[in-house]
């Protein structure tokens, strides 16, 4: 009951801080933004005003086709994308260009094209515009002209352009990810990105929340509330309360993220379609229940493991700067396992990867990385959880012995031999 009081206080004060609110809601907002932005910009391009172009056809045989093809292009509202004006080359090209430049500068015209009679041999034509940086616009013009020229060549060589088109069709790849339940279609790069992403979230949360615990203990030590608390509850209860309270904050944050993710999964497409009606799927990976479950388990065991170390470090020192000299005990293994994660991603089922993922300091991140890569059999996952639980128990015992002495020590930073002596105190 008393532990709950401490948990409650820790949780409520933390959840109310600005840092927590920003940290919690920034990620989902960024996630939504990342998905909606491309859709938004795509639709912006589609909605842009009608383009007025003039075409100088020097070949004398493309004019009709060009006018028709450009005329057929519609924007997303179903309006004509291009308003085409065909010019002939009766008069001098330079003077025509001069006249058109004036019209473009005057805003009367967006661009003009010069299709020279040599287009069939040198495969190029000119486009003059004020703004040639509009990639989508330039590409559309190029594609249109190119396809007309190609079709004409096919016709002239006696081939059926329809047939050639069909034979020439581009082939695309669909990748399948093999999991426990069979294979699911997924794009290879998204899969890699998202496993890296989840590993990253786990890494950041362990690092961040471990340090939160260190700082929380130092704060209480400095505000001198410890003595009253320790006279009311046992040091172990106090430590548990702190670690659980901060852990609950982390879990809350994580649950909010999951909820956002699910909401996006359910309604995101509808939202995105408001901006881009032709969108049929969101760039969202599928997360299997196995991944979700192991994420929670490794986050919790990893958090408690490192938070206990954090509490121990916090109890030993008096200031944040003093904590720096001991914090490596907690930070190093987390950072090392993060780098090892990249290493084992290449060969997640190698012997080295398997051994590394069973070392308690590395298990939370490395075993999870192997789960993401579907390289960890169920028995290994189970065994790693058991080992993690036992190590956690040992770490709580060890850290608890240092904590109950350290928490009441003020003054100079203890040396390592002194800390060792604390462990032996009865």
């Amino acid at each position: 009951m008393k532990v709950m009081t401490i948990v409650k206080r820790e949780y409520l004060t933390r959840v109310k801080t600005k840092g927590f609110l920003i940290g919690t809601f920034l990620l989902p907002v960024m996630l939504i933004a990342m998905m909606l932005m491309p859709a938004f910009f795509m639709s912006r391009a589609g909605k842009s005003a009608q383009q007025k172009i003039a075409i100088i056809d020097q070949t004398g045989r493309l004019a009709e086709k060009l006018a028709q093809s450009f005329g057929d292009i519609k924007n997303d509202k179903g309006e004509q994308r291009f308003q085409v004006e065909m010019l002939t080359t009766d008069d001098d090209l330079e003077s025509t260009k001069h006249r058109l430049n004036g019209r473009v500068n005057g805003g009367e015209l967006n661009a003009y094209l010069i299709i020279s009679s040599t287009i069939f041999s040198d495969n190029t034509f000119e486009m003059h515009a004020k703004n040639v940086g509009n990639f989508e616009f330039v590409q559309q013009v190029e594609r249109t002209v190119s396809s007309i020229v190609r079709n004409l060549r096919l016709e002239e060589s006696g081939l059926d352009s329809e047939l050639v088109h069909r034979l020439n069709r581009w082939v695309s790849v669909t990748t399948f990810k093999i999991g426990e339940e069979g294979s699911t279609a997924q794009r290879a790069e998204t899969s890699f990105l998202y496993s890296m992403g989840m590993g990253m979230i786990l890494y950041m949360m362990l690092l961040l929340y471990g340090q939160f615990v260190v700082r929380a203990i130092i704060e209480d030590k400095n505000s001198r509330v410890i003595e009253v608390i320790i006279s009311s509850v046992k040091p172990s209860q106090f430590m548990a309360g702190k670690v659980l309270g901060i852990g609950a904050t982390g879990l809350t944050q994580f649950l909010i993220w999951i909820a956002t993710f699910l909401l996006i999964g359910a309604y995101g497409l509808t939202m995105a379609q408001m901006f881009a009606p032709d969108m049929t799927r969101l760039p969202l990976p599928e997360i299997s229940p196995m991944v979700l479950a192991t994420f929670c388990i490794y986050f919790l065991t990893g958090y408690f493991f490192y938070a206990t170390i954090g509490a121990m470090i916090g109890s030993m020192v008096n200031t944040d700067s003093e904590a720096q000299s001991y914090q490596w005990i907690m930070i190093f293994p987390i950072i090392i396992s993060f780098f090892l994660m990249f290493l084992i991603n290449n060969q997640p089922d190698s012997l080295l990867a398997t051994i590394l993922s069973f070392i308690p300091f590395f298990t939370p991140i490395l075993m999870f990385a192997r789960v993401l890569n579907d390289a960890a059999p169920l028995w290994q996952i189970g065994l790693s959880i058991v080992i993690m639980g036992l190590s956690l128990w040992g770490m709580i015992w060890f850290a608890g012995r240092i904590f109950r002495v350290g928490i009441l020590m003020y003054g100079k930073k203890p040396t390592l031999p002194e800390v060792v002596r604390w462990i032996k105190y009865t």
């Binding site: 009951m1 008393k2 009081t5 401490i6 206080r9 004060t13 505000s223 001198r224 509330v225 410890i226 003595e227 009253v228 608390i229 320790i230 006279s231 009311s232 509850v233 046992k234 009441l408 009865t426």
Partner: protein
């Protein structure tokens, strides 16, 4: 009934013997002063009573039991190093400290209102602790110490940092609590406070109990040979070693200690022959004098 019983307790920090064979007991409903100079071992003793640190040797019994979780909730403790959660609201802090002492939420609110009112902090209830002055924070911490209605209250230097008005307020509250049957132990090096409040005292110096008992007894023991007098005339008797052991002349008056087996009566008879007496008083020594006397003697020995 004994509320607190300490028997032959020792505690060392490395080479330093912080508490050395301390034995003392405090009766129920008593106000007990743990006195001593700075660094005498008062805080160490209190921390051992609170089970924050364990004695190396010896036995401590509180309310007839050795330390347990149940006993924890029956003690209120105001440590020398004051500390509250600065970012929390006054009402939240009270709630928190009462809850870790096992008081139900509903009862906390009723009691808190009364105490905040008495301490003149009621309008600060919804303010953050950091907005309060030092004196107010100290009063707030006192409320946190007693809100769970402990049977034993331990106050480590409760008066430091309080102005005379608040000192008086606190003194009255201590006396009220004592009237309600609560046992109160406080440590101080301010003898004036101890003299006004305590029934029993224990004087600690260098980790050892050097003087212990009820204040009245101790005063009697130290006071039987002290006389204070105002007079006019030439007082040669002050230098008579068969009567006066020593004297301090303060100008307006003289304080003197009599030789052993000399009664104040005999001194008065002799003095009447030499001077005109304006005031003659068999004086009790102040606790301050006893303190200095005992500690300095201990230092010489």
């Amino acid at each position: 009934m004994k509320t607190l019983n300490i028997e032959h307790v020792h505690k060392s920090y490395g080479e330093v013997h912080a508490v050395n064979d301390l034995t003392l007991s405090v009766h129920e409903g008593q106000v007990f002063g743990l006195l001593g100079p700075n660094g005498a071992g008062k805080t160490t003793t209190i921390r051992m009573i609170m089970d924050i640190i364990k004695p190396d040797q010896g036995n401590i019994e509180i309310l007839g039991a050795t330390h347990s979780d149940k006993v924890r909730d029956l003690i209120g403790y105001l440590p020398e190093e004051r500390g509250l959660y600065k970012k929390m609201l006054v009402s939240e802090v009270i709630q928190f400290f009462a809850e870790i002492k096992g008081v139900a939420k509903k009862r906390v609110q009723q009691r808190a209102h009364g105490w905040l009112d008495r301490m003149d902090l009621l309008e600060w209830r919804s303010k953050k602790v950091e907005e309060l002055s030092r004196g107010m924070q100290q009063k707030l911490q006192f409320i946190c110490t007693i809100l769970h209605e402990p049977r034993l209250i331990i106050l480590d230097e409760p008066f430091t940092g309080l102005d005379p008005i608040n000192t008086n307020l606190l003194k009255n509250i201590i006396l009220d609590l004592k009237g309600g049957g609560t046992t109160i132990i406080f440590s101080t090096h301010l003898m004036e406070q101890a003299e006004k409040l305590c029934e029993g005292i224990c004087l600690i110096d260098e980790g050892m109990s050097v003087l212990q008992g009820s204040l009245a007894d101790i005063k009697k023991r130290f006071g039987k040979n002290r006389v204070r007098m105002h007079y006019a005339g030439e007082a040669t008797f002050l230098h008579d070693r068969s009567l006066v052991a020593s004297h301090d002349n303060y100008g307006n008056y003289v304080e003197l200690s009599l030789m052993e087996n000399v009664t104040p009566q005999r001194l008065l008879e002799r003095a009447l022959q030499e001077v005109t007496i304006e005031l003659f008083q068999v004086a009790e020594p102040s606790l301050n004098e006893i303190f200095i006397n005992v500690v300095e003697k201990g230092g010489q020995a």
